[in-house]
Every structure is written in structure tokens, then in C-alpha cells.
Symmetry: C2
Subunit: 164 residues, 2 copies
Amino acid sequence: MPNSDSQFAAAAIVSWKRVISQIDKGLAGWSDADLQSEVAPGRNRLYYLLGHLTAVHDHMLSLLRLGDRLYPNLDEQFIRQADRTFLGPQPSPSDLRKAWTDVHARLTPALERLSPAELLERHSAISEEDFVKEPHRNRLTVLLGRTTHAAMHEGQMRLVRPSK
Amino acid sequence: MPNSDSQFAAAAIVSWKRVISQIDKGLAGWSDADLQSEVAPGRNRLYYLLGHLTAVHDHMLSLLRLGDRLYPNLDEQFIRQADRTFLGPQPSPSDLRKAWTDVHARLTPALERLSPAELLERHSAISEEDFVKEPHRNRLTVLLGRTTHAAMHEGQMRLVRPSK
């Protein structure tokens, strides 16, 4: 019987992996042309949400102190700006698919390697001094927050049916 | 400094409460007429998703062994059947709003009263014998799963802008 800490940690990681694999399943069904579909009239395209989640998750690498970011170049188009407003050169759908895959191939195993105690360590956006007063600002709460954020967007993405 | 078990448990509850309060915020903005809006053309109405989440969360009371269900009558229309297919008498929007409020007024405090060890106890859909072999089938994993399920639908619901 695993100890309770490791049960809690494992459950958080399983929840994360479920949401990511649901998005992977969607991506396997949508063609590159489908990625241009809006999730609802006038709302974000799949293309944008894919870039948005990739950028947000890439940022988790540094925020959770798991290594250097792979795609900081996505932030301007997919975090700071809204869909269809960015005027610079844009990644192709296949570039974005590759970025999505690369980020999760790096991030998820790094999360799995954290011990329960390491999951409760501070994230990089809080100082050691402040963390003493606010111990909930740890990797775990970032992970849970990003999991529900991804689930929220996955719910929107699944509104687009594959054209095949 | 709280011990690590209670930090994990608290983080799971906070994540649940954030998603529920996000839906509460939506409900405060949508009129009863807005609840008839579909989240995307041909997809579920807000009315249906509100009933669906209320029924699923009401079921958590019994599944997590926290007490008797309050609204088992919602299951047929909002879990077993798809939107617009149920032919029996239907709750009004204000009935559904009340049910949503009642269920969470009962459920969330009951979740908060569970100790970390109690969160890792089995849920009611698994026998004590099977739980020995599958200790991950506990209240916590149900809670995390329902949290991402609610977040997924909340992402769809937020596509409907309040008419006011």
C-alpha cells in the first residue's frame, strides 16, 4: 500500500494526464484544416487554443523549475494577444502540433519524477521568503490550476467535430 | 506549517471550489432566458448543462458516502438522456438554479470536513475487497475527476455571453 502522500501526488498527475490525453485524442481526429474552425461563432479557433495551451504549458517548465522553456516565442501570439490579432509570422498547424508534442514529452515525465515533497515546494514566481508565509503557492497548486484550465479549453475544443 | 497530507487535501478542495464558483459567477450573469441558449449551434443548452452538472454532483453525495442524494429525479433528463429528448415534466430554470445551490451547499462543506485520510477512503461504487487491490478508487480521484468534468463544461458554458 503506497503512503498517503504518494497517493495524493499520483492522483494529481493522473488527472493532468487524462486531460492532456483527451486533447491528444482530439488532435488525432482534427485535420489541419479543421484547426481553422472556431469553437463557436466568433470565438477562438482550435488553432489558437492549441497554441495557447502549448504556450501556457511550456511556461510551466520554468514556473515549476523543471528546466528551460522550449517555445517562449509562442507567448506573444497565443498568450498576450487574442486570436487573429497577431501580425507577425505564424507557426503552421504542423509546427504547432510538434510544439504541443514536444512540450508534453518534456513536461509530463518531469512532473512524474517529482516526489510528493517536491510537488509541495515553491514555484518560481514566489520568493523563498514569501513562500514561508504562503506555502500553498507551490508546484501542486499550479499543476491543479493548469489541469482545470486545460480541461476548460478542452471542453470548448471538443465542440468542433472532425471533418473526416 | 500544515503537514503535507493536509496541503494536498486542501489543494484538491480549493481546485473544486474555484470551478464551482466560476459557474456560480456565470449563473449570476445569465438570465433565465439566456439559459435556453446553446453553447454552440446544435450543442447543449446552458439549461441542460446546468441540470447535468447538478445531477452529477448530487450523485457525488452518495458516491462519496456523504449523505443521501437531494435530486435523484434529475438523472433521467440530465444524465441518461440528451438535451431536448426528455418528454416528461421538466424543472423550470429557477427550480434548476435552486437545485444547483442546494447540492453545493450540502456537498462542498461535506468535502471540506473530510480529513486527508478520509479523502483516500474508498468510494461507494467499489467493494471493500476490491478496494484493497485498487486503492486509487477513492474519494479523491472521484473529486479530481468531477472537478475536471465541471471545468470542461464550464468552458463550454462561458461561450454564452449574458444578454444583459
